[in-house]
């Protein structure tokens, strides 16, 4: 059975276009997010791990080593089942710090300029055989289906197609930080196709080849060697080596990392992958023995690795053959595309970008994308080169093992990164180089030498069996165990011999499983967002800098005017994270460290302030479990008590940074905790800053009755402070408790004032009584003198005496009235009082006065508005107010009296057109003996009496400047509703 190349090309193209179509539809939003972001989609996308090694290689492994194939699937599954050991911490650190590749992770954990570059180059060298393997698998497959062209020509065609699709899939966007959700969906689809193809071939083998499971069991019983072959296992050492290789490959292979972490922003997705991915592998794995037995049963004449294709070819089932071909294509293209994208990013970020210098006029983002495209093409072509060097008969598994042993060398450094604080970059580099040297000598070089000199040398006698250039079982074990042992040994010894730098210890803290991300605590030299932007522009140019700063601000929901130290630190950290996804951790860290530095050498391992610890606990709350969660609940309880205290509390650290600002403090200061916590004290309004700074820096632990003049009012505060001495994390911090005693002080003053008024009243009554009698005598004598004489000058004199005594009597009368004003015993029963009539009466009384300035009184009060009170005393209120209004008014002007209901109060307004009252006098006009009239013109008691009477009636009185220059006096009295039966009866009584 033969397929034409056109047919195969068309099938392949349809598959790839479908895959690209699904990616495109996802990125355009044509597919629902419930599907594209579903955890199952993410889990399926991880199926990219199962490349040609899985689809083809495991069949070969099963044919040669029985249940050895099982180790491939178990090793990969173990990486996910044991996620807390490596993948869990790796995922946490990678997502927190936006580490886009394994080279970023190593450069982050083992900070040194060379680490990222070394890791990238070694990873590229180690993974090239794996990519070559994919090319080899497809070229062999196509060659099995079509004998027209050589494998080499077919491999070239496949590579060119893959270059185009790899660029389409992963290098269309401006940066790698844009998550390619389309790629994830496409790989999910690819995994489904691969699984369907493998399962269909297996089901076909059972039902079409054997006729069912029972028949298969019968056949196996009859052909015991095949069953025994499946039960055959590798030697102990080889078995463990393979298991470790597949475990390490799953953790460290770039395409797994790329899909698991680079294209993922959901920290929870690992949860579903932990059981979903092993389940996916289990389904694939279960098919392997079935396909193998089916192919043996039909006598498939292909190499065992290609039995999936061979079964269809042998039974001449075109549909099955095409399905197996598409499944194999899906497996190979997935690994090839994603590995290439991941390696291109790593190489660009860690090998090329360190040499980049900004060139004016060249768009940085365009440069990045074009370089990445070139790298993609170069890596695929290099893989083709490796494939080209392969001799005939090379097995897929042998190539795969070369790659897996290479990738295994990253495992010690990776485990140590998250579980060994003392691991150093020197130790890591030494271990990696030692492991790679052994790998190169024992596996890679013999492979090349066999390929290059195959015509001269049969093979390397030590490690390779002569027949198939295939590394022998002992060679896997030797290469893997010796390289790994030397790697670990060098890693441990050199790490113990070298002292970790402060930066390394800080990175170790970040990576340790029991630590949260710890941002630096120092103060930046940049004092504003603009400063940061200008600094970064020096490295990346103005346009790139503006774009990165805007992106960081948007992600943090902060404004361009941000100046708070902790917010600036957050912005710096976010920009570094974003840049690390764009250009790698090493370069991003170097640029930000150089251009946005801290003010002085910061104590990276010193204790952090309470605010930072609390912020981090809040961020990680959902991740706390067990005792940590209980302690956090206790912390939150105490925090809430502090927050809800009715007394204002704040705390300040030694750097004058505000750490605590509770709810009462917010109410008192009108400064939100969100704005001030974490900021410098100087960010407070000036008055508050002076008060708190002065108190916190002084020696007194109490400051009683401190006056804070803010927003036109005086706050009277008692301040108390305490230093926190026993907590290392709070060394030098000060807690300040503030009591607002403004109201109490005012009440106290009012009480003193009332007592003073009462004393004045008593004095006035006594004075009035004592002076009244002699004045009456003087008045009588003056009257007698007037009657007894006819002399006009004496009559005039006596008239003047009488006039003055009347004036004295009037003053005495006012004094007596004032003294009675506060005397509740003299109150008469309250009755409904008609305001309009009361005002009318007051106007009439005023019209009897001799003073006539032609003032017009306009009584605009509604006729039916009533209050409950004493009519005579209320009339006195209006007489006094209208007298003052008249005296202040210009001749011929008008005094208007209006009234209206405001809520349940009657509001009476008296407005004159006089000279008004100055702002300074407004508060004093209701004080006794305060007058602005000329001496002898007023006693200063009129408005004091009014205020006293109004208060008796449970009302209030205020004065304010009127809009047209006069004065407006506003009286508020409780309203009276005539419909109320109880009040009416009271009124009637």
């Amino acid at each position: 059975m033969v397929f034409s190349l056109t047919q195969l090309f068309a099938i392949g193209l349809v598959y790839l276009v479908t895959l690209f179509g699904s990616a495109y539809a996802t990125e355009r939003g044509w597919l629902p997010q419930s599907l594209t972001r579903h955890p199952v989609t993410r889990v399926l996308s991880l199926g990219v791990f199962a490349g040609s090694i899985c689809f083809y290689g495991t069949l070969g492994l099963a044919a040669n080593y029985g249940s050895g194939y099982f180790l491939y699937f178990v090793g990969a599954s173990a990486a996910f089942l044991m996620a807390p050991v490596v993948l869990g911490p790796l995922s946490r650190v990678a997502l927190n710090h936006k580490l886009g590749s394994l080279a970023d992770v190593f450069a982050f954990r083992y900070p040194a300029p060379w680490v990222g570059g070394v890791v990238s180059l070694l990873m590229l060298l180690g993974v090239l055989p794996l990519i070559a393997l994919q090319i080899h698998a497809i070229s062999v497959t196509i060659h099995l289906l079509n004998q027209e062209f050589s494998e080499n020509v077919l491999a070239i065609g496949f590579c060119i197609t893959m270059i185009v699709f790899a660029i389409l899939f992963g290098a269309r966007h401006m940066s790698t930080r844009d998550k390619h959700q389309g790629l994830v969906v496409a790989l999910g689809l690819e995994s489904i196709i691969k699984l369907c193809a493998f399962v269909t071939v297996a089901v076909y083998a059972v039902y079409q080849v054997f006729g069912g499971f029972t028949e298969m069991a019968t056949w196996l019983s009859a052909n015991q060697p095949f069953l025994d072959g499946m039960q055959q296992t590798l030697s102990e050492g080889s078995s463990r080596s393979l298991l470790l290789m597949f475990f390490g490959a799953t953790v460290a292979l770039p395409h797994v990392y790329h899909i698991l972490l680079t294209e993922n922003d959901d920290a929870q997705s690992l949860g579903a992958a932990r059981w979903g991915f092993p389940l996916y592998l289990l389904l694939l794995s279960a098919c392997v023995p079935l396909i193998l037995w089916g192919a043996i049963r039909v006598g498939a004449d292909t190499p065992p690795e290609f039995y999936a294709i061979g079964l269809g070819l042998m039974t001449e089932d075109r549909g099955l053959t095409i399905l197996a071909f598409v499944g194999g294509l899906a497996a190979a293209s997935g690994v090839l595309i994603v590995s290439t994208l991941a390696l291109a990013s790593m190489t660009l970020n860690h090998v090329l970008l360190p040499f980049y210098r900004p060139v004016p006029g060249i768009n940085f983002y365009t440069l990045l994308i074009n370089t990445r495209r070139i790298l993609i093409a170069a890596i695929i072509l290099a893989s083709y080169g490796v494939n080209r060097l392969l001799g005939e008969g090379q097995t897929l598994m042998s190539l795969g093992i070369v790659a897996f042993v290479a990738v295994l060398q990253f495992l010690p450094g990776l485990i140590g990164a998250f579980h060994w604080r003392k691991a150093t970059r020197s130790g890591f580099t030494a271990g990696l180089v030692a492991g790679y040297l052994v790998w190169f000598v024992s596996l890679f070089f013999p492979l090349l030498s066999d390929l290059v000199y195959s015509s001269l040398l049969t093979s390397s006698p030590l490690l390779y069996e002569q027949r198939l250039y295939e590394p022998a079982e002992t060679a896997w074990h030797f290469a893997a165990s010796v390289s790994l042992a030397l790697n670990v040994l060098a890693y441990v010894i050199v790490s113990l011999l070298t002292r970790p730098t402060v930066e390394e210890l800080h990175a170790a803290n970040d990576c340790m499983s029991d630590s949260f991300a710890r941002p630096y605590q120092g103060e930046l030299e940049a004092e504003s967002v603009t400063d940061i932007e200008a600094s970064i522009a020096l490295a990346l140019g103005q346009a790139t800098s503006s774009r990165e700063v805007s992106l960081a601000l948007a992600e943090l929901s902060l404004g361009q005017d941000e100046r708070r130290p902790h917010a600036l630190r957050q912005i710096r950290h976010r920009i570094e994270s974003n840049l690390s996804t764009l250009m790698g951790q090493t370069i991003a860290h170097r640029i930000i460290g150089h251009f946005v530095p801290y003010k002085a050498e910061v104590d990276l391992l010193g204790y952090e302030n309470i605010h930072t610890i609390e912020s981090r606990l809040e961020d990680y709350r959902s991740q706390l479990t067990g005792m940590a969660a209980e302690l956090d609940a206790l912390r939150r309880y105490h925090r809430q008590i502090l927050q809800d205290l009715p007394t204002a509390v704040c705390s300040i650290n030694k750097d004058w940074q505000v750490l605590t600002w509770n709810g009462a403090m917010e109410d008192l200061s009108w400064v939100s905790a969100d704005k001030i916590v974490g900021s410098s004290l100087v960010s407070l309004p000036e008055e508050w800053y002076k008060l708190l700074h002065g108190f916190a820096s002084g020696n007194d632990v109490h400051a009683l009755k401190s006056v804070l003049h803010i927003d036109g009012q005086n706050l009277i505060l008692n301040l108390h402070k305490a230093s926190i001495a026993n907590m290392p994390a709070a060394q030098g911090d000060v807690v300040i408790v503030i009591e607002n005693i403004t109201e109490e002080t005012m009440l106290e003053e009012k009480l003193i004032h009332s007592e003073r008024l009462a004393s004045i009243g008593q004095l006035a009554a006594g004075v009035a009584h004592e002076i009244g009698n002699p004045i009456t005598g003087i008045a009588c004598l003056a009257q007698n003198l007037k009657i007894e004489t006819n002399r006009p000058e004496l009559i005039e004199l006596s008239n003047q005496i009488l006039e003055q005594t009347e004036r004295i009597s009037a003053i005495l009368h006012s004094l007596v009235n004032f003294s009675y004003g506060g005397n509740a015993d003299l109150k008469r029963p309250s009755v409904p009082v008609n305001i309009h009539q009361c005002v009318d009466e007051a106007i009439k009384l005023l019209s009897l006065s001799q003073v006539d300035k032609g003032i017009a009184f306009a009584n605009l009060c509604p006729a039916d508005m009533k209050v409950l009170g004493d009519p005579q005393r209320l009339a006195q209120v209006f007489v006094n107010i209208l007298t003052n209004a008249r005296d202040a008014s210009r001749p011929g002007s008008q005094v208007a009296i209006e009234a209206g209901m405001v809520d349940d109060h009657v509001e009476i307004t008296v407005v004159d057109q006089g000279h008004g009252i100055s702002q300074a006098h407004l508060k004093q006009v209701f004080e006794p003996f305060f007058t602005t009239k000329d001496p002898g013109q007023g006693t200063g008691l009129g408005l004091a009496i009014v205020s006293s009477i109004v208060e008796e009636h449970h009302g209030s009185i205020t004065a304010e400047p009127a809009t047209d220059g006069g004065t407006r006096v506003i009286i508020k009295l409780p309203g009276y509703e005539s419909s109320g039966p109880e009040l009416t009866s009271t009124a009637n009584s």
């Binding site: 180790l71 089942l81 296992t233 102990e236 949860g271 932990r274 059981w275 389940l279 959902s622």
Partner: protein, 58 residues
């Protein structure tokens, strides 16, 4: 607790393989005994994950 059991079992598999594989496959369940053990581990992992997310939700 389940987490520790899973890690312990896998490490045990690593230490005792291939003897343990051979032991399983020669038992009454035959060649697919390995798959059943594997499936049980996946089930344990699933329940462990559910429990962890429930605790986090609380």
């Amino acid at each position: 607790m389940i987490e520790r059991v899973i890690v312990f079992l896998i490490l045990g598999f690593f230490v005792f393989d291939p003897g343990i594989q051979s032991f399983w496959s020669r038992g009454p369940l035959g060649w697919y005994a390995n798959y059943l053990v594997w499936l049980a581990l996946i089930g344990a992992c699933y329940f462990s994950g559910r429990r962890a997310s429930k605790d986090a939700g609380d």
